[in-house]
Symmetry: C2
Amino acid sequence: MDVPDDLARRAADLDVEHADAYRRELFSLPADLVYLDGNSLGALPRAVPAALADVAERQWGDRLIRSWNESDWWGAPERVGDRIGRLVGAAPGQVVVTDSTSVNLFKVFVAAARMRPQRRVVLTDPDSFPTDLYVLDGAARLAGLTVERVPPAEVATRLGQLGPDVALVSYSSVDYRTGELWDLPELTRIAHELGALACWDLCHSAGVVDVRLDDHGADLAVGCGYKYLNGGPGAPAFVYVRSEHQATFDSPITGWHGHVRPFAMEGAFDPAGGITRARVGTGPMLSILALEAALSAYDGLSVPAVRARSLSLTRFFVECLDALGHGDSVATPRDDGRRGSQVAVRHPEAYAVVQALMARGVIGDFREPDLVRLGFAPLYVSHHDAARAAVAVAEVVDGQEYEREEFRARATVT
Amino acid sequence: MDVPDDLARRAADLDVEHADAYRRELFSLPADLVYLDGNSLGALPRAVPAALADVAERQWGDRLIRSWNESDWWGAPERVGDRIGRLVGAAPGQVVVTDSTSVNLFKVFVAAARMRPQRRVVLTDPDSFPTDLYVLDGAARLAGLTVERVPPAEVATRLGQLGPDVALVSYSSVDYRTGELWDLPELTRIAHELGALACWDLCHSAGVVDVRLDDHGADLAVGCGYKYLNGGPGAPAFVYVRSEHQATFDSPITGWHGHVRPFAMEGAFDPAGGITRARVGTGPMLSILALEAALSAYDGLSVPAVRARSLSLTRFFVECLDALGHGDSVATPRDDGRRGSQVAVRHPEAYAVVQALMARGVIGDFREPDLVRLGFAPLYVSHHDAARAAVAVAEVVDGQEYEREEFRARATVT
């Protein structure tokens, strides 16, 4: 089935209306593929292969060790960090690209505990992405913290009960399963009211949600480079430490890149000023510089324009599902203010539905136990893609394609 | 001055004798450059740019998220780890590529403390590479350890005094400044005699020294991918956990890649079996796969042959310095059994000497306060290169070229 005429016309109108944040020509995507998995691995920006070739062949191959100075490899973590900073509303000098999200969470959790030594409780979401929970449990064990798992809606009440025992409130900006957007400004505000710090995981919002960390007073944040930032598989992560906390940010992993004089080769750790103290070891430069090239796709774009296009895409996708009789399966809030940049569709055979969609050229992913996740990366997904995806969902479900054996066999990694 | 005839003839003979481990044709190095900084950043293997282009354009760009299965990105950390394992004498399943050396040191230090809960002292070298000292101090603070800085030569005595208080003996295989090779078998043996664990930093030995971790009973080890392994700037690091310790390896940074069922998205950390539990977050795949391609330069080479060529190069370089009247400046042991793969030359104006050498096309590096470090990567450095470097050192020093203003101005990163 093709996209019905009325939805196709509406898609065309919306694509015109939100054309300012559409940059498909900057991405290398197979023709005809509807790629709705940019919330897991962003598409390849065309600038990346040439940048990688230059880094490998000229900077590394020809200039060798000299590139640490000549190409300022040394400054790349902060330089690329500032580019991400613009997208998450952080003034320069507060974001650095380093390590993985998990390692950054560990640093931030222990450092937060040290900023609030009289407080021993951390509140976090029981439905956080697992690594957030695992790392927090591991950090709590070392730092003497108690972790309480409290859904976002109950944080205010629980904070009121615990009061000055709470050191940190650590939540994701967007729920990785349902795509629900939590209220970062309000949760940050109530944490501060009781003297707690607020840490945000921006993995599913950096590059698509106008999180405005500085404006809302967020204390700490982390995020990855490989989703909407399009930095490539496993791209290095970032960490944000608000300026006013940097002097007291006491990282548990004290590597030489965080030292104030790394090449003095001193015997004791003396942390660098600013965000640099959140660095640890030598970062994977090929991956960091690929991320830098990838971020050029955002050059000149305003975050509110990107956010408007993202909301339009997800809103229109839900509208299409409604029109096709599948609105009830939507697990994501319909309220714009409560939605990130993905729509999750609930189905008991979600795994097989994802495989059947893939066979039709619509790529999303599966999350236990029953969710089809469809991420709408505003820079390269069109409203027409959204309509095609909705039609594909309707056909796979209505035609019970998910019953086919070929779609039910589980692969190793999903 | 050219290389004197007698040294040139001897270089030619040695190049023939050790031709089996010479693979210059597999590396992309500027003609006429004598590159003796492979102990800081290895040269570019020719296999890397094509591999990077394939990973970026086909695996990422065309196949997108599907490459996690199709190209087994998920298994890359263990797959590449096993390739490094062969070079350091570790049977498969004991090495994984993950994080940076500093982060791996942190994991290993805390895990070692947990394996020896009744023991609270760690011995380490006061002259370790700084990040080893910094990270150990940071881990000790969290894990309740006491760090004693004891030179390698005094470990046996100090161990005898402290006895069952020592949890861990943590040393570098090769001193990063002088290039001295420490006695890994003997230090490991005496640590075990008193019930302590032995951890080795292999940054300056992986790929050039036959460290034979399994044979010598090493418990834990870490190392980087960007020196003699030629993985590129900031290439991901590796960690070795001896098979018998894996079941009790209790990492402080419990990320989802170390979980036994990462995609079950469970609420509590349950470590994977084997070396996989040392993984943390999603690794930088471009950098990991560049390292994998780089390691192909070692395919079919025996580690003893590589080590024999490395020793011949450094021995001959010292012989050349002797012949040119500069043997007294050598800070590295002349005994083959006590030398890694670099020769350090002492000079009060070492920084300017390094710059002057660079202007002559001989690249080494400087380490505070007075060392010129010259690393001999056996796969792409020839004995003729060694002779040219010795002549350049003699000329720079004899001609006092280091006095020139242009060579004395300090750059940001050295």
